[in-house]
Symmetry: C2
Subunit: 212 residues, 2 copies
DNA sequence: TATATTTGTTACTTTGTCGTATAATATCGG
DNA sequence: CCGATATTATACGACAAAGTAACAAATATA
């Protein structure tokens, strides 16, 4: 279970290993995750063997296991990559001085773009049951954080008057659901870029939220 | 591949077999489908063995195969049961003389209730790749019919003035997505009945659609 | 009650894929 | 240039679950 070399790119001076080694290793690991994410999206998690992933990278299966402990770890990393991408906008939101509705607009645009991205499928459609209880709990916590953020912004908006009166819980479910669902249709109907998709949904829900 | 007896309940007079036999057989078949649908929802399609389904019904695996050709057929029947439930409201819609927005309200309420029902999970979260190309195509056709209906009603509403100006395609995606997503959270958070969930969403999107 | 048909079980084969033991090759620091 | 370590391949073990063959129990009809 112990890594042969610390994979942190920052640990260059205090490590006996060349940083370039650790760096390319990290890069290759990420390539494995990404190739897996694409295969999962195309064929589903259970219909994708690690041999499929390997051959997509022109290597053999044990090579995959050199970079990753097991299939579950790959799935977890896919979840994390996607969810982190969504959460990356939280900082901007905290800093911003706009109304809650405008913050929601930003969040929706960003969220939608992330779902249309490479890890959208895994983040949304992969099943908790394919992760161990521990990993599943971590994923649930991340997801819940995002959902709570939406619900919180709706409540905030009702208070500051930028959002019309509505049921915050159901409205948040509706928004999150509509966004998550993008992963079901986006790659079949990719007439828009991920950013454009996010923008389109931001517009739709701006209508929903605007007070009347 | 040929069934030993025609399972249609209508074939009572011209068949040498007692109709009660065919009837109970049909009932048992449906019990298999339903038990499987519940197991799929709880553990996922691939994490549910037919032995699990069998033991939930207090029988053994080959008994399942007596009522059903294979696992794929079960999944297809689950899809069909759910989608038919949604489509069952189309007749009322055609007969109704209300505005398009009011029709949408009815459709959304009904759709939402169906998704929160027994077959909601299979209908929405099961993957096309787990069906043969032929069956997958049939499912896609049914789904598309429903989506087109929503989009059509939005366009109709924009024309008759009951729906405010919006992008019909994206708005339809948003509505369908929000409704489909119910299957992800409903059984964990079942504080409302399926009908109440449908009603709540009808309300949320009435806000979205109302002209301003 | 006797017989044919339906319904169900026990025990098996087959298949696919995860994950690993082992060995061979490439690459880096000294 | 050499030894150690990183990287990759070949071949295999283990196991779970789909699907089947052959046989046993139940039941309707004559």
């Amino acid at each position: 279970m112990k890594k042969p070399a610390p994979a942190r790119p920052g640990a260059s001076t205090d490590s006996p290993w060349s940083p370039s080694r650790a760096k390319t290793r990290q890069l290759k690991r990420e390539a494995v995750i990404l190739a897996a994410a694409r295969a999962f999206r195309e064929h589903g998690y259970h219909n994708t063997s690690l041999e499929d992933v390997a051959s997509a990278l022109n290597v053999t299966k044990p090579t995959i296991y050199y970079y990753v402990a097991n299939k579950e770890e790959i799935l977890f990393e896919c979840f994390r990559a996607g969810l982190d991408q969504i959460k990356s906008v939280f900082g901007d939101l905290d800093a911003s001085k706009h109304t809650a509705r405008e913050k929601l607009r930003v969040l929706i645009r960003h969220y939608g773009a992330a779902i249309a991205g490479e890890f959208g499928w895994c983040m949304v459609r992969a099943e908790d049951q394919d992760l161990s209880p521990a990993m599943s709990a971590r994923v649930k916590a991340l997801k819940s954080e995002i959902d709570q953020r939406i619900r919180g912004l709706i409540k905030e908006g009702i208070k500051d008057g930028s959002v019309g009166n509505c049921d915050p819980k159901m409205t948040a479910f509706a928004i999150a659901g509509a966004l998550n669902w993008i992963s079901h249709w986006y790659h079949k109907d990719a007439s828009l870029s991920p950013a454009e998709v996010g923008e389109a949904f931001a517009l739709v829900f701006d209508h929903t939220l605007k007070p009347r």
